[in-house]
Amino acid sequence: MTLYFERRDLVVPGDLLAEGDYTAGENTYKVDDKIYATHVGLMEVKNNTVYVIALHSFYVPKVGDLVIGKVVDISLGGWVVDINAPYLAMLKASDVFGKSFKPFKDDLSKVFDVGDLILAKVIAYDRTRNPLLTVKEPGLGKITRGRIVSITPAKVPRVIGKKGSMINLLKQGTKCQITVGMNGLVLVIGKRPENEVLCVRAIKKIERESHVSGLTDRIAEMLRKEAEK
C-alpha cells in the first residue's frame, strides 16, 4: 500500500498514483495492483479509493442531467440538439405535442427552430443510442433571454459549490438568475446587463482558478469590490 502523490497534487496521464490494495476511482485505471491517472487533474483519496479531479473534460451525458442545447436540425419526428457532447441528442416531437402529433400537420419549427437554445433534461442514454431529451418539466423549454457562458464540464461542480454554496454566493452578489447545464453551458439572466457581465466574469474566474485553494474567498472578494464601485 503506497501512495506516490500527496492529496491535491497535480497529476498527468500515466502518472503512477498508488500501488496496493486501493480501488481505482474516476479518471484512473488499474493494471494489476497499480493505479494510474488518465487525466490532467488533482489527485484525491477517499475511503481507500484513489481518484483524480479532472481539470478539463468534455461532457458525457447522464440520465437526469439538466443541459442547455442548440437545435441544429429538424427531422420528421423531432429535433436534433447539440448538447456539447460526443453525441447529438434527440428531442422527440411527441414530447411536445403528445400522442396527437401528426408529422404533416404540426409545424415543428414553430415550436423550436434551428438555432434556438433550449433547456432540457436527459431522459435516456446508454452509449449505443444517442441521448434522448425532454422539455416536459416546468422551467424547461426555449431560452429567450440572458447570456450563455461556456465552461469546461469538469468545472461545473465548482460553479455550484458544496451544497450550492458557490452558486448562492454568485446569485446574491450579482442579483442574477443562474441555471447551470451539466454540459458546461451556464445561463445567466440579470435585470441589468452590468449584472450579467459581472456574473459571467465571476464564472470565468471560477473556471480558471478553481484548482487553487481559497476560491470562495477570492470570488467573495471580487463581488464585494464590484459592489463598492
Binding site: P13, G14, D15, A54, F58, T128, R208, V212
Partner: protein
C-alpha cells in the same frame, strides 16, 4: 533562397555534431500546452529548429457517417507540412509521405487512448509542421499526445518519441535534417515511458545488430528525457495560475 550542401563532415574532430551537440545530446526542446483557443486541446513544440503545432477536436460525431465504428472511437490524424516549412517550397497538397506519416503517427498514439469508451465518435488530430529540421515524426507524436491530454481525452500514458541513428560511423540521438539526409541510419521510436511499452519502431539505413541495440537504448533514453519535459509542460499550464494567485 538558402540551398544547403552536404557538409564535408557530420562529426568534427572533437566528436561534436553539425550543430555542436554531443552524440547523446538532445536538441533544446520546449513544449507549450493550450496554445489554440478554439481547439478542444492543443500544444506546440520547438525542438531545435523544428516547430510543430498540434490541435485536437472531439470526441465528436463522425462525418462522413460510414466511417464510424460501432465499438470504439476512430482517431483521425492529419500530418501536414506548411509550404514554408522547408527551404524549397512544398506543395500544400498532401503528399505520399505525409499520408504515410499520418498513419504512422496515428498508430503510435492509438494504444495510449481509451478509444473503446466512446463508440461511434471520432477524435480528430491536426498536426501542422511550421518549420521542419528533421525529426518531425517523433516531435509530432510527442506534441500530439500533449494536445490529446490537454483535450481531456482519457489516456493510459503520454507517448514520447525520439530517434537515434548513425552518422559518419558514429551513433547519435535526435537527428536533425542534415544528419538524417546524409547519415547512414535512422531509428525513430515512440513509447509510453511509464508503462515501458513501445508503440512505434522504424528503421531506415543499415545497422548491425549490436549497433541497433545501442541505438535503440539511446533512443529510449531520449524518450525518457522528453517524457519528463512533457509532464512538466502539462503541469505548467495550471501551475502558472497557481503561482500567480499565491503571490
Amino acid at each position: 533562397m538558402f540551398l544547403e550542401k552536404r557538409p564535408e563532415k557530420l562529426i568534427d574532430k572533437k566528436g561534436l555534431r553539425t550543430d555542436g551537440r554531443k552524440p547523446d545530446e538532445l536538441r533544446p526542446i520546449k513544449f507549450e500546452v493550450g496554445v489554440l483557443g478554439n481547439a478542444d486541446g492543443s500544444a506546440r513544440v520547438q525542438q531545435g529548429k523544428t516547430i510543430i503545432l498540434a490541435a485536437v477536436y472531439g470526441p465528436r460525431e463522425v462525418h462522413p457517417r460510414h466511417l464510424a465504428l460501432p465499438d470504439r472511437a476512430v482517431l483521425r490524424c492529419r500530418y501536414h507540412m506548411a509550404p514554408f516549412s522547408v527551404s524549397r517550397r512544398k506543395s500544400p497538397a498532401p503528399s505520399r509521405r505525409e499520408m504515410e506519416l499520418s498513419k504512422v503517427i496515428r498508430e503510435a498514439l492509438e494504444p495510449a487512448i481509451f478509444l473503446e469508451r466512446y463508440p461511434r465518435t471520432s477524435i480528430d488530430l491536426f498536426i501542422e509542421v511550421l518549420q521542419a529540421d528533421g525529426g518531425t515524426r517523433c516531435a509530432s507524436i510527442s506534441v500530439a499526445s500533449l494536445a490529446l491530454a490537454d483535450a481531456g481525452i482519457p489516456m493510459r500514458d503520454l507517448v514520447a518519441a525520439c530517434a537515434a541513428g548513425k552518422v559518419d560511423g558514429k551513433l547519435v540521438v535526435d537527428l536533425n535534417d542534415v544528419e538524417d539526409k546524409y547519415g547512414e541510419a535512422d531509428v525513430p521510436i515512440a513509447m509510453m515511458v511509464g508503462l515501458n511499452a513501445v508503440t512505434l519502431l522504424q528503421m531506415d539505413g543499415m545497422l548491425d545488430p549490436k549497433e541497433f541495440r545501442t541505438a535503440l537504448n539511446m533512443a529510449v533514453e531520449g524518450c525518457r528525457q522528453i517524457y519528463e519535459m512533457q509532464k512538466e509542460a502539462l503541469k505548467e499550464k495550471y501551475a502558472l495560475i497557481r503561482e500567480e494567485l499565491e503571490k
